[in-house]
């Protein structure tokens, strides 16, 4: 089924994205967090059975996190982006790993890099970063220069008892 038709059946507003050089149609829609699972199930049962990616955007001025669920249909050759907004102060959402198992890995990464909590996912532990001791590093208010200076430049050189510079 075409994506436009599925959007109409779900009663969602959508926009067609224009990407230079890419002729495949792409659609983006904003979904309410409680409606998302239902929408993904609908898309999945209508040919959109490839889950491409789950990404997170930090809209620091609007105080929101945007989660984008990216689906693709091999039959219709169409991309669909479903996005939900979460409050930035307490970002919390439920896991959707029962729909596509690869969502678990994306959720682990987003939990580590942005600090978004996914209820029901029990593997949200240390993933890519090791021995991390600060706030999630991909948040916009994380000052990477200050952190690098504090952590790495303060490590002293090896004092070999020779002449100093």
């Amino acid at each position: 089924m075409k994506a436009e038709q599925i959007f109409k059946e779900l009663g969602l507003e959508f926009e067609k994205l224009k990407v230079k050089g890419n002729t495949l149609p792409r659609y983006k829609a904003e979904v309410k967090p409680e409606k998302l699972e239902e929408a993904i199930i609908k898309f999945k049962s209508n040919g959109f059975n490839h889950f491409v990616a789950l990404s997170c955007i930090d809209w620091i001025k609007d105080e929101k996190f945007e989660l984008v669920y990216h689906l693709f249909s091999y039959k219709e050759k169409e991309d669909v982006f479903l996005s939900i907004f979460l409050p930035r102060k307490e970002p919390k959402y439920k896991t959707l790993r029962h729909l596509f198992p690869q969502i678990e890995t994306y959720e682990r990464e987003i939990h580590e890099m942005f600090g978004v909590e996914f209820e029901g996912n029990d593997r949200l532990g240390e993933f890519i970063l090791e021995d991390w001791d600060d706030m999630p590093p991909m948040r916009k208010d994380f000052d990477t220069v200050a952190y690098a200076k504090k952590k790495y430049e303060s490590v002293p050189l090896i004092d070999e008892g020779g002449e100093k510079e």
């Binding site: 970063l129 090791e130 021995d131 590093p137 090896i158």
Partner: protein, 180 residues
């Protein structure tokens, strides 16, 4: 009674000289490809530049290697593995820091996860600057390292033993825990 006494004519100092002369001619190398640097190694290894004519061959395990090549940036997670590989190697061992990232951070100067200077954590005998260094620069570094070994200047492994406390202290500032 010992029927084959050691040739006492050659003093200990001279033995070390001979040892160095022999060991510089058979450097077995393990390259720890952390980042982009691995791309420059195939021309050096293969017929174009052919490092084997100097007795340098790539080796599979750290326990058989003399030379550790750290190519590219070193993340905190990688540093733990590099230290582990380095400590597995047998003396005498040498380290070459390859590219600008292990020297001062390179393009990752402001990254939250890249350690900036490798020589704060393990001793480095030779640096190759550049992003990326050409195979000629790598060959040049190998020849200079061989010269240093011959003259007894490449003694990073002795420094690691001597200042082990300081190296370990610096390493533990980055790692929260060691046994993982």
């Amino acid at each position: 009674m010992n029927e084959n006494p050691l040739p006492s004519i050659i003093p200990d100092k001279e033995w070390k000289k001979i040892q160095r002369m022999l060991s510089k001619r058979s450097l077995w190398m393990i390259h720890f490809c952390t980042g982009c640097g691995a791309m420059e190694m195939p021309p050096v290894m293969t017929s174009r530049y052919d490092m084997e004519r100097f007795g340098i061959i790539p080796m599979a395990t750290p326990r058989q290697a003399d030379l550790l090549l750290v190519t590219g940036y070193v993340a905190t997670k990688t540093l733990k593995r590099i230290v582990r590989v380095y400590e597995q190697m047998q003396d005498p061992k040498y380290v070459i820091a390859f590219g600008s990232c292990p020297i001062n951070g390179g393009i990752y100067w402001d990254s939250y996860n890249i350690i900036k200077r490798l020589d704060k954590y393990i001793p480095v005998d030779m640096y190759i600057a550049g992003c990326m260094p050409r195979p000629e620069a790598i060959m040049d570094a190998f020849l200079k390292l061989m010269k240093d070994i011959d003259e007894g200047k490449a003694n990073g492994w002795m420094r690691y033993r001597k200042y082990y406390d300081q190296y370990r202290r610096n390493q533990m500032r980055i790692f929260k825990r060691w046994d993982e």
